[in-house]
């Protein structure tokens, strides 16, 4: 079986466009999921009444429904109540909705790993709760949640492959398209895998570099 390099070259631009879309959706989806994660984890950490309950419900829904279902809801469901978003916005929102709960859990375990004595010595210096969170708890929590956050980032990038389900021309979509049109299955699949690797490998390498740096920095007395 020889590979049809002419075909691969011809459709390379399709893949590049698709890869850019995947990266863009991933980037914003992950960015917002971090924002959601920080907010939710702080609410759960301080056990803020009412909000805490809302966050728990959100986390259960987010973790126990597939991303594709969340996307269908956003893309096909919301227009029925008059909210119409582009497929790409739906993808970003969906990813943030899914990722937010994962990020929240990772960051919360980091927050909880900060020793109570740290908080008490901040308090004994007259520091307010908010200042203690910002200067003492959060930086330490972040350092210990980095491995979890990195794992989530990679997980979320992989999850973007389902956005083809709402007709976004991502890598998966282009691949299915080409296979359907030309039956050049091997070539299309090889390109698909290659492009995901191009995106994910650097992220993965970067993640382990950051983790190693943090281990060397060796927070903790």
């Amino acid at each position: 079986m020889g590979l049809d390099f002419g075909f691969m070259q011809k459709y390379l631009p399709w893949y590049i466009d698709a890869a850019i879309l995947t990266v863009r959706v991933s980037f914003f989806g992950i960015l917002f999921s971090l924002v959601v994660g920080v907010i939710c984890s702080v609410i759960r950490y301080y056990k803020i009444p009412v909000l805490q309950r809302i966050v728990s419900v959100y986390i259960e829904i987010s973790r126990n429904t597939p991303l594709l279902v969340q996307l269908f809801f956003l893309y096909f469901g919301l227009p029925k109540i008059g909210i119409v978003w582009s497929a790409e916005i739906c993808a970003v929102v969906g990813l943030a909705f899914l990722g937010g709960s994962y990020m929240s859990e990772s960051i919360r375990s980091g927050l909880e790993s900060v020793e109570k004595s740290q908080i008490e010595s901040a308090a004994s210096l007259g520091m307010s709760k908010a200042l203690t969170m910002k200067e003492v708890i959060f930086p330490q929590a972040l350092a210990s949640s980095v491995p979890g956050i990195c794992a989530n980032v990679i997980f979320l990038i992989k999850e973007t492959s389902v956005v083809s389900g709402i007709a976004l021309a991502d890598l998966m979509y282009v691949t299915k398209d080409l296979i359907g049109l030309y039956y050049e299955t091997d070539e299309a699949l090889i390109m698909l895998v290659a492009f995901y690797l191009v995106i994910l490998l650097p992220v993965s390498v970067l993640a382990s570099l950051i983790e190693r740096r943090l281990r060397y920095a060796g927070f903790g007395n």
Binding site: G126, E135, F219
Partner: protein, 254 residues
């Protein structure tokens, strides 16, 4: 000593569930006085200090600093805490900040002092305890004794009126105990009002103006150090002091 009363504890009661840890504690600390609190493990020494700093809220009674009531949930608690420095057993420097930032964080962010002025004071204090070279180091790069000296300075840089010390040398290797205790003695000599919990009996005797012996939830003795160590009034204090004494072992060689 008969200076003005700086810290007053009256009728202090603290319970944890069914257990009454402090059962009506009354004493006062005068300006410049050094009070050492002694007592068997679990008698509530840490709890007493924590109440004095608003980290625990008492079930009854009250604590006054310069006539102002300290209460854990109170509005002015953060303000009052700036006047009461506390150092714990477990040298809790912030691992994410270097030494100078550990020391100046609260002076700058809480007391709104200028960074420059706070750093100058911090460096002066660091020089005094021989740790100026470490100002850019991180806590993990310091020994236990060094960390504990920094913790003392961190509290001092707030210019507190009273310092509370809770077994600050208990977690240290023996060879590092001295350097920390020396800093405390110097501080006492400068006239700082101090309340110290310690298990170092010789140090207690040397530094104390007064010894308070706590047992069974109340103050059993409140006396001058010489009196307490040579001639304790109660059996409980005698028994307590016994636990620190070693009988000369009968030698095996004649």
């Amino acid at each position: 000593m008969n200076g003005e009363i700086q810290l007053q504890v009256s009728g202090l009661v603290k319970r944890f569930g069914e257990e009454t840890v402090l059962n009506g504690i009354d004493f006062c600390v005068r300006k410049g006085e050094v009070v050492v609190v002694l007592g068997p493990s679990g008698c509530g020494k840490s709890t007493l200090l924590r109440c004095m700093n608003g980290l625990e809220s008492p079930d009854a009674g009250s604590i006054f600093l310069d006539g102002e009531a300290i209460s854990a949930g109170g509005k002015n608690i953060a303000q009052l805490r700036q006047k009461i420095g506390m150092v714990f057993q477990s040298y809790d420097l912030f691992p994410n900040k270097n030494i100078i930032d550990n020391i100046t964080l609260a002076p700058v962010k809480v007391q709104k002092r200028s960074k420059k002025e706070a750093e100058e004071q911090a460096e002066k204090l660091l020089k005094r305890v021989g740790l100026w070279e470490k100002r850019k180091a991180y806590p993990r790069e310091l020994s236990g004794g060094q960390k504990q000296r920094v913790a003392i300075i961190r509290a001092l840089c707030m210019n507190p009126e009273v310092m509370l010390f809770d077994e600050v040398t208990a977690a240290l290797d023996p060879e590092m105990v001295r350097e920390v205790l020396d800093v405390m003695i110097e501080l006492a000599n400068q006239g700082m009002t101090m309340v110290i919990v310690t298990h170092e009996m010789q140090f207690a005797r040397a530094i104390a103006d007064r010894v308070i012996f706590l047992d069974g939830g109340s103050i059993v003795e409140d006396s001058k150090p010489d009196e307490f160590f040579t001639n304790p009034k109660t059996k409980r204090a005698k028994d307590f002091l016994q636990t620190f004494a070693y009988e000369k072992r009968r030698t095996n060689i004649n």
